[in-house]
């Protein structure tokens, strides 16, 4: 494993963590070469997560858009309601394999925290989750879910009190407890080998899309689109498709709009820098201080992005677009009414840009949209926002 995606990636971490990263890289390479490990992981994906998740032909949405046939990759139907479980089960198995008994994680929307808590409960690991106090408020049902699953949730009060600071807190805790604890990072971010491991574990999304596309319409889609926070559901879709001619689109959160600072459009508006162990794009001021991101969606509210996305962005292999809070809310209503699916606010960003892409393609073409999660966790926040509007 190289640990670099073009110029991006690397291991910009305190010395204390270097041994753990190298231990993890070795354990991961050995595990992937071990049939028994891979079987155990795939069994869990099938029997516990409920994979493969469907590729649903969204007929009414297709008609509404009036272009390419829209297919939804239904990660909202994975156990715990989002793609995050694909990653946490793999990392929890790795944690066990390394002889560590404790899992820690950061979370924004709470989906990764819930997925980590779930994997820990299933495999009998201790689990602690760090969550910004703003997100604890925004995503209260997920806090309670984690607690029900036997996980301790720490509300992080430093900095912007969101995902960035939860990640700082988790890194600090890992430095302290690295000998018996695995840090299950929640996206394709952080120091090598995390971006590679998380991408590989999420690539089940793209592999299933390839197989299901063949079965549903006898070939490849013309285009595929996913939302990008740290970028794990998108990387899981893109990695298996990167060597095909499929046009790939990532959608970042434009929050209140790209003109000011209230957005999380890292690739669209940021520039390269080092945060959380990796060299990648970053929302930062002119002097290299990391800026607070903003999005209605807690899972996209992050000023960094995975280093492989930075590489795909620079190379032009993937086009990165953005959608505002308003556009995402509108898309959420649209999918609910047209298809009977309430997506997570994160996923609604992908749906918000899907219409234009579908319209730019002929009716015979297919467009795959990842619905990365379900919207139950967001209902209270949406209701409150719409009541005050």
């Amino acid at each position: 494993m190289s640990g670099r995606f073009g110029a991006y990636g690397g291991q910009f971490v305190p010395e204390t963590l270097m041994a753990a990263l190298s231990e993890l890289e070795t354990a991961y390479s050995e595990a992937m070469a071990d049939r028994a490990f891979v079987d155990a992981y795939e069994d869990l994906l099938r029997e516990y997560v409920g994979r493969p998740t469907p590729l649903t032909h969204a007929r009414r949405l297709t008609e509404r858009f009036g272009g390419a046939q829209v297919y939804l990759k239904r990660e909202d139907l994975a156990h715990t309601g989002a793609h995050k479980i694909n990653n946490t089960l793999g990392q929890a198995l790795l944690c066990q394999r390394m002889g560590k008994h404790r899992l820690i994680a950061e979370t924004g929307a709470g989906q990764h925290g819930v997925a980590a808590a779930t994997a820990a409960a299933l495999l009998g690991l201790e689990c602690e989750v760090f969550m910004g106090s703003v997100d604890v408020q925004r995503q209260a049902p997920n806090v309670y879910r984690m607690e029900l699953l036997g996980t301790r949730v720490h509300a992080v009060e430093s900095g912007s009190r969101t995902l960035k600071d939860a990640t700082n807190a988790a890194l600090r805790e890992w430095v302290r407890s690295v000998r018996d604890t695995h840090y299950a990072i929640g996206s394709v971010v952080g120091p090598h080998p995390f971006p590679t491991i998380v991408r590989d574990l999420q690539s089940v999304i793209g592999r299933e899309v390839l197989r299901q596309s063949e079965a549903a319409f006898g070939g490849l889609p013309q285009a595929a689109i996913a939302c990008v926070g740290g970028g794990s559901n998108a990387a899981g879709l893109f990695a298996p498709l990167a060597s095909t001619p499929v046009a790939l689109y990532g959608v970042e959160a434009a929050g209140a709009g790209l003109h000011g600072h209230e957005h999380a459009a890292t690739l669209t508006r940021g520039r390269p820098g080092v945060l959380h162990g990796a060299y990648s794009y970053l929302l930062q001021d002119a002097e290299g201080q990391v800026q607070e991101a903003y999005s209605i969606s807690a899972g996209l509210d992050y000023p960094g992005v995975g280093p492989e996305h930075a590489h795909w962005h620079d190379s032009g292999r993937v086009r990165y677009l953005s959608a505002t809070d308003e556009e995402a809310l509108e898309a959420l209503h649209l999918l609910a009414r047209e298809e009977g699916i309430i997506p997570a606010l994160e996923s609604a960003h992908a749906i918000a840009r899907a219409g234009e892409i579908a319209q730019s393609l002929p009716k015979e073409a297919a467009l795959v949209v990842v619905v990365s999660g379900r919207g139950d966790k967001d209902l209270e926040a949406i209701r409150a926002r719409e009541a005050s509007a």
């Binding site: 010395e15 753990a20 600071d165 700082n168 600090r172 000998r179 080092v274």
Partner: protein
């Protein structure tokens, strides 16, 4: 010979321990942090460490995090550089700058290294720059006469030590505990074997930092054979509570602890 090498060599010849004193530039004000470090120098610090405040200090505990947050409200890049330059005018001691990677690369790494060297800095301590990532940095820094500090930690793998020893410039920073700055307990039993193993590759000065905050703990590390100690959180707290006089008192107390080891 560089200013840091000269200082550490002289201290060794005198059989004295080195004391490196950290404060965060701009906390409570730019002027206040300069006064604090000047007071530390006067009270017996051998190396001054100027902290460059950063939004995401992952290696730091609550005390330095809070100092960094306070400083960022009014401290700019040019203030940090001016603080280094002001100290260079006032003290003879070597000056290290502690900064995370991102503020250093934001305006171009080589340009920033140049500006810091011009201001009078002697070394950079970059807590998120491990040996593996530091090669290009070292090359650029060397051209400016700046040292890039290497680290060892309780978890450092023996296989990496020859490379760390080879890359070392000035001194090696031994992280004295598993945790962030300002933590209470140390991990002597796990870092000391790493220090010994490092020295078998090369006889380079090793200073211990993280969690060392008073004369007693400084004395403990000195008697364990370290070349010196690095003190941060305790001085940040002393400055916040009692100003430069507080720093002076704290440094004197730590100095006395170090010097009590024969």
């Amino acid at each position: 010979m560089t200013r840091i090498q000269e200082t550490l060599q002289r201290l060794r010849a005198e059989n004295r321990a080195a004391l490196m004193a950290y404060l965060c530039a701009g906390d409570p004000t730019v002027e206040g942090s300069i006064e604090g470090l000047a007071a530390a120098a006067q009270a017996g610090a051998d190396i001054l460490e100027v902290g460059w405040p950063f939004s995401d200090p992952v290696a730091d505990g609550p005390v330095i995090q809070a100092a960094s947050e306070r400083a960022l409200r009014h401290t700019r890049r040019e203030d940090v550089i001016a603080a280094v330059a002001a100290l260079r005018q006032r003290v003879a001691q070597p000056i290290a700058v502690l900064s995370y990677c991102n503020p250093l690369i934001s305006a171009g790494r080589d340009e920033t290294l140049h500006v810091l060297a011009q201001a009078g800095a002697d070394a950079l301590v970059v807590p998120d720059l491990p040996m593996e990532e530091s090669a290009a940095w070292r090359q650029a820094a060397q051209a400016e006469g700046l040292a890039i500090t290497q680290f060892i930690a309780p978890t450092t793998d023996a296989q990496r030590l020859p490379h760390i020893a080879e890359a070392a410039d000035g001194f090696v920073y031994a992280v004295a505990l598993l945790g962030v700055t300002g933590s209470a307990e140390d991990s002597a039993e796990s870092i000391l074997p790493v220090v010994d193993a490092l020295r078998r590759h090369r006889d380079v000065p090793v200073l211990a930092g993280f969690g060392i905050g008073d004369g007693a703990s400084a004395k403990r590390w000195r008697s364990r054979g370290l070349d010196g100690v690095i003190v941060g959180s305790a001085l940040v707290q002393a400055l916040a509570e009692r100003g430069p006089e507080g720093v002076r008192r704290a440094v004197r107390e730590i100095r006395a602890g170090l010097d009590s080891v024969g």
